[in-house]
Symmetry: D2
């Protein structure tokens, strides 16, 4: 059983607390902090939490709690993490870890120096679909991963501070790109070094300073490419999808808008449909159990199990740091209009990324080379039932087809 101090009482704090108190759960939030005493008190009452506080340090130092969960605005992550590390407490921090890689690195060093358990609360890597898809990838079902697209778009965030670049550290990229980048890393391989990033971003709709729409590309040392699409301008709800391509297969995940639950109502629902749903009539697409589908349940289980077992969780502060470094490169690229190197002062993966070159034909997918002279390109069933195979002649470079 873990005894937890929850820092933050917004939507994130609510989702986290609800998850931790979960179905027949053994863990317990024992203290909650909010800047506003009223909000802290009210939250404690709602969630049957014994103690509350409006003093950050006091909440963290609560001697009857072992774990601090940081669910605060981005500009307070650093302070909270540093206090928790100093206090020798296990600390779990919501995404993004820092507003910049520099902040993230400071936090990483603080917990490592203090020797406390630390976890990076990147929930979307823990959705049950993502966990199972990652297992398939590890089992080789997709072959070598070539491309991973992750998309998170919706009509805009739910809390005011997200919209304020000073507090949040940026716009849609900091808010959601962090999810997408880490999903891409997980599929492509966390030990493969992300080397360069390109990013387009713009403020297309909302009267704010930060970008409300961005598209980014991340080049990996092994030639794989990550792609993210984030937006606060999307209409129709919360669009949360991943697509992954490899030499042997494909995975498509839809986490929110098309999950096998479709409802038409002319009368309306009389309430909440789903996070960031728009409208209450017509065709609606609710989600079964949101905290589960969004990965919170499996995330906290991994975090607390890891702490009990004294092993690293699946998502560490180091991962959070890498994500921040990629985001930093994206913002530089938005300004420079070109690929920007991803600066990783600390790199703990493979040195040269184990780049496998595409210079030997796609052998896995097709028949063996014909003798020594032809390289296989593609095999295809034709409308007339025959099979066509296309080769390249190694000597002449000419393309040849054979009908079988």
């Amino acid at each position: 059983m873990a005894k937890i101090t929850m820092l933050g009482t917004g939507l994130i704090g609510t989702f986290y607390t609800r998850t931790l108190h979960g179905l027949r759960g053994r863990d317990k939030v024992v203290n909650v902090y909010s800047r506003s005493p009223e909000r802290a008190k009210e939250f404690a009452r709602e969630h049957h939490i014994t103690r509350w506080s409006a003093d950050l340090k006091e909440a963290i130092l609560d001697t009857d709690s072992d774990v601090v969960v940081v669910g605060l605005p981005n500009n307070i992550h650093r302070e909270a993490v540093l206090l928790a590390a100093q206090a020798g407490k296990a600390v779990l921090c919501t995404k993004p870890l820092g507003r910049t890689a520099a902040e993230a690195l400071e936090m990483l060093r603080a917990v490592e120096w203090a020797g406390v358990f630390a976890g990076y609360l990147e929930d979307l890597v823990y959705t049950p679909k993502t966990l199972k898809a990652l297992e398939s990838v590890r089992n080789g079902a997709l072959g070598r991963i070539l491309w991973a697209r992750s998309r998170e778009t919706h009509p805009g965030p739910h809390s005011p501070w997200f919209w304020d670049a000073e507090q949040s550290g940026g716009g849609a990229i900091v808010d959601m790109g962090c999810h997408c980048i880490e999903i891409g890393r997980n599929f492509i391989g966390k030990d493969i070094r992300p080397v360069e990033a390109f990013c387009w971003g713009a403020t297309q709709v909302h009267p704010i300073e930060a970008e409300d729409h961005a598209i980014g590309l991340v080049k990996y040392a092994n030639g794989a490419i990550g792609q993210f699409e984030v937006s606060w301008t999307f209409r129709g709800g919360l669009d949360l999808r991943d697509e992954v391509s490899g030499t042997e297969g494909t995975v498509w995940l839809d986490h929110f808008l098309r999950t096998g639950f479709e409802m038409f109502t002319a009368a309306g629902q009389g309430g909440y449909v789903a996070e960031k749903a728009e409208g209450q009539k017509g065709w609606l697409f609710p989600v079964g159990d949101e905290v589960h589908e969004l990965g919170y349940v499996h995330m906290f289980a991994d975090m607390l199990d890891a702490r009990d077992a004294k092993r690293a969780p699946m998502e560490t502060f180091y991962d959070g740091y890498v994500v921040n470094a990629v985001i930093d490169a994206c913002y530089r690229s938005m300004n420079s209009g070109r690929w920007e190197p991803i600066a990783l002062e600390v790199w703990r993966g493979k040195e040269e990324g184990g780049a496998e070159k595409a210079d030997k034909g796609n052998e896995a997918a097709g028949p063996a080379e014909k003798g020594d002279t032809l390289l296989f390109l593609k095999k295809e069933k034709m409308p007339d039932g025959r099979t066509k195979v296309i080769f390249k002649d190694k000597a002449t470079g000419r393309i040849v087809q054979k009908i079988e």
Copy 2:
């Protein structure tokens, strides 16, 4: 915390135990029974269960356990439940409750007479999607429910005893119809009396005595209709879908084959894909977290919470009894070829089902009646942008249309 004796070590016992030990769960299986000592011992080892037994009575009487979970073949439910009731233990029994309504009624009376907590383990009513859809129905999003279709089909069960009509009490209807019937009751209203059933069943493919395919209809006192489709002849995996129609709306649920997880693999998975999946290559449709998506997590949470709170769970032995009564009528109908009355010696719902008649026009869906003379039938947007409204003249009975 609940201390549980698990009876049965097949796929059901495995799913149940895995769920109870769940993610950060506080409950614990402390004893496991199997007819085979080897199997019991092995299961105990796998799931870190302290005690095991090959003696049913001994396992039930274990003084260090408070809850008995029956995950045995159908023909042993009655014996196990009666022993648990005698022992004063809380008892949770898998579906179907009995092989017949008579058996179920005996079990219902035993637990009620003994005053023990009892729950009916009808997992598919507890899938997160079903729970949320039921809430929408209660909120009026679908208006008055007219029709509920529930479908469960796959290539055939995983345990030998299902195929043996003596042990199981029948074929696909007993195995899966019980799910579908109870899903229909939940959507239409558990207090509405099911009055008549019609059923077609046949042995189309497998060399067995029992039906491997059946389609049934259940008439309710308020005019609503339940429909079930069950089969052991379906190819393509486990097809688990519900569709519900009401005067104001529609719900479509897909629990297994199309849930937003799609994978193509030319290489194969190297293992298990999903329950009753067929094939390991090409397009596959895995499920995120099976025990969650199939309702086990929310079912056991409700059961054990209800026991702690001394309230009835959502699914009771009485529900199991009603389901058995409907199944009995279905088997009679398969033989007689006609509607058969559903015999309910004990009925605890509304007396005349609160039948609402369809004699006043579909007011909710359309404009108010035109004066006193016209009944509204339908309103429709035409390709040219105008709106057509169709009425019936009360006096003459003639149908009239107006273009607006």
Copy 3:
């Protein structure tokens, strides 16, 4: 090139004419009939048709047209077809052929006696998806067909006469059941005799005499089962789906509501979305090219090509007659509450339906029998990666499983 007289100017006449004049089409509607001269004239103007008439006989006798298309209310089909046959004209009649099998048989005999080309305009059998699925079935992709479900439901028809049982011959069954029954026949095999029908029907919502919701089952001589679901009470648009199961496979067709076209609009469309669409905001599901997706294009191509080639079209008046005979049995069953024989005075298919019995195990799907003693039931991949095979012992009837 065919010169056509169009009888009827409602939605059907409009869809038919639009299709016949299609994209770069060579055929031409040269005369149009409506009871109302204004409507006839207006329709002629809209569709660039030279001649129009408000006199049925005159329109049919037009010497410059070779083909008569009947797009009239059901109660006028017989008169129109008989006039066309008398006039020696090719005649294409919309669905259902008659209001009863007796009417249909009279029409069938009239065209056969007159020796004129006749086609039954059952468009939903001609949707491009259905045509391709039928080809797959003929190629054996699904093995022996066991079950075919066809569903057509929407909020109610667009023309007033559909709602009037005298003119239409019934309610939702006559209106849409005719489609579903013929789709079932096509998948199961037109030469297989439909022997018995069972039907539930009710007036659940609308203040009319006829049924606005019905579910029917059709038993075929070879043991296959057809299922139809028709309703004028469905909310959410036009639900048009077919599902077919065979010993080797499954087909799912969605013709209208989920075809790969999804749109969210907060602003609205400013017009027509799709046939029977409900609402203009929120998530909408338009269809690409309606007359194509609903089968009109391929239907008229087959009809007119068949006439040119002096062969029978895919759908003949005989098919229309069989459908009417099944509908008649359904209405009898609605009253009797039991299976009713399908009376076919004229039967042109296989005599005993080529019933293949399910008495030899599902050999195609599994491994060969083990020696002479075991019958194969099922093979399944287990979560631990091993394979389980279930057999029945021929001698003892006992069920046995082997783990491989």
Copy 4:
């Protein structure tokens, strides 16, 4: 009726000819050219074409044909178009128009100087779904378009010459990017100037010189962004999807892999499933009528109708030229690693793109500004049923939320 000379007998020529001869079509291919006399003769026989030729000039000069359709490898487009223009023939050219903008401009000038009718055969803009979606966009259903993603990926082309960069002019970008770019232009507005392009491309799998995977971004003068994803490395069939976002709505189109036709077969199909389908067993996703779904039918109808009506077709040689200019910029960007200007020597759209700035709040989507001091950002339904609205204070720039 059009009399057509078909140049090319590959898959494109086959699809084109099949479409032109279509269902009850009035047009006719009267001459066919292939470099190989055998292939030309065989093609003529298969498609009932009177004349054939292995001499390009002779085929184009055929005095009994009025329209020349160019379905040849990219490196012969220019020659064929110039000959047709010289001959005063109407000419329809497959995509891409040229291998470079320079080639395309030469062709554009040739047909304009000769005054012949010319059409650009960009079929994917003509799919029935795309045509209807474009109409919705014109009707304002999506508001101002912000983003258009178009994706075409598959395991590699069917004809050898595509793989040869000299003949085709490049790899996946030239082959499929041309489709995606033009789809983007259609949604964003053809009169809006595309100003800059960025592109990543790599040879990830196949042993060829050209890129087999690319991702590109196109910036438009009004701030909208086009995105394309093209690949010859995708596994699972032909993935052909478009997604469009605007201030008021969203459109998702799936043209090939998920169109409402799903089939499982354990037995196999015994033949062709769909263009570029992989595998013949398991879950398959055929398409109803391929030439229709891929836009060929509506494309040729528009082209030939436009010629008859002496109006421009929807897709002109000028459009082909703009697409080539974007592709040229993409290749430059692949090398430079930065945004590259799109060089359009000839620009026929709006001068400054009618850029609408995002500086006034998203008024259409939300409530009007609160007095003069607050700018609307977002409105959201909360889980507790209340509504939260987020504003920005004009004076202070601070973000404020109100709970209603």
